[in-house]
Symmetry: C3
Subunit: 155 residues, 3 copies
C-alpha cells in the first residue's frame, strides 16, 4: 500500500481531527471495516464551512466544502489509525447535501470528497459505492455532511 | 436458489445497468456482502423518472418510480454478478423519497421497490430491514433514490 | 455482559415492539451484526410522537421523541433476541430529524437516543459512530426516525 506516500506527496493541509463529542465516536472498527461518523467540513482553524447551497452559497463553494469534509475524514483516519497504509480501500461514501429543494447537482458536490479520496487512495482503491442526496438541514447549517466505510488491510 | 428462475418467469423489462460514473461504482463486494450505490429510476430507454411527489407527481407515480429503481438495481446485480442465484438474500433497503415537506407516505412509495424484491427473491429472502425517509432534493429531481445491501450465497 | 442487569435497574417502560409490516423486517442478523430498520417513536399505547421540529414541536420535544425511538429500538432487540446480553455493543446510529430547513441542532435531538443507549449499554459499549441530519419529511410526520447497527457477543 502506497497510500501514505501518495498522501504525503499531495502536501495537503489537514484540519484538526474532530474530538469525540460525548455520545458518539468519530470512528469504530468492526472486523476489517472502519465505520466513520457523519463528518462536517472543518477548516484548519477549527471553524466550519457554513451555508445552504442555492441560498447562502453556490455550487462550487458546496463542492469545496465536500473536499474539506474529505480532509476532515483523512484527519480522523490518521489520528486514529496512525497511517493511511492501514486502509485497504474505500467501501462507501454517503453524502448529504444541504441545499434548496430545487437542487439537482448533489453528485457534483460530493465529487469534491470523492475526487480527493481517489487522489489519496488511487483509482483502484479510492472508488467505492456512493449515495448523494439533498437533505432538509444539517448541524450548524454546514453545506455537506459525509459518512463513510473503509476496509482495513489484512494483518 | 431459484431466484433466477423466478426472475425469468416474471418476464420483467430491465433498464440498462447504470455505468460507473467516474468517482463511484454501482456495486462493491466486501466479504459476503454486496453494497449498492444509491440507484435512480432509470427507464428502458435510459431516461429518468423525474419530479417531486406532492408537487410535480402523485403518490402512485412515486411508487412506480420506486419499482423502477428496483428494476435498475436488478440490472446492476445481473450485469455485475451474472446471475441472481449468486444472491442469498436482501439485507437492507434505504429508500429516499423526494417529496414536499408535508409528505407522510414514504413507506408506501418505497413498497414499490420492496414488493418487486419479494417477487424476485421470495418472502424468505426478499425481505430485509428498511428505512424510508423524505429528503429535501435528489439528483436530476428524481422522485426516489434507493441504496441497498445484499448477502451472497456461500460458494 | 451486564446490559440486561443495567436495563432492568433503569426500570424503563418500553413500548410494544413494532410488528413486521409486510415488506420489511424490524431486525436482521448478518454474521455477528444486527441491522435494525428505521424505527419511529412509538408510545406505550402504540401511538406515535408526531410533528415537525421548529413548526409543530420544539427542540426538547424532539429530543424526547428521539429517546422514545431508543426505547422502541430496545423493545425490538428484546423481542427478537430475548436478552440484551446477546448484544456486545452499539456500532452505528443514523438519526433522521424532521425539522424546518433552518434547523441546526440535529445532534442535540439525537442525543435523546444516544444517551439512553449509554445508560443501558454503558460508556464502553453504548457509544458507536453516528450521523445526525435534518430530513424533509418522515412517515406519519414523526419528529425522528433512527436506524442502527449492533454487534452481537461471541457465542
Amino acid at each position: 500500500m502506497e497510500h501514505e506516500t501518495r498522501f504525503l506527496a499531495l502536501n495537503l493541509e489537514l484540519p484538526p481531527a474532530p474530538e469525540p463529542k460525548g455520545v458518539y465516536t468519530p470512528l469504530l472498527q468492526v472486523g476489517n471495516l472502519i465505520y466513520l461518523s457523519g463528518h462536517l467540513p472543518v477548516n484548519s482553524d477549527g471553524s466550519l464551512h457554513r451555508g445552504k447551497i442555492g441560498k447562502d452559497i453556490d455550487l462550487e463553494a458546496g463542492k469545496l466544502a465536500a473536499r474539506q469534509v474529505g480532509l476532515t475524514i483523512l484527519a480522523t483516519l490518521i489520528s486514529n489509525l496512525g497511517s493511511l497504509n492501514k486502509i485497504k480501500r474505500v467501501v462507501k461514501v454517503f453524502g448529504m447535501v444541504n441545499a434548496t429543494t430545487d437542487f439537482e447537482k448533489q453528485p457534483y458536490v460530493i465529487n469534491g470528497c470523492s475526487e480527493l479520496l481517489v487522489e489519496v487512495f488511487g483509482r483502484e482503491n479510492g472508488i467505492g459505492v456512493r449515495s448523494a442526496l439533498g437533505v432538509g438541514s444539517l448541524p450548524e447549517n454546514v453545506p455537506v455532511e459525509i459518512e463513510a466505510i473503509f476496509e482495513l488491510t489484512e494483518e
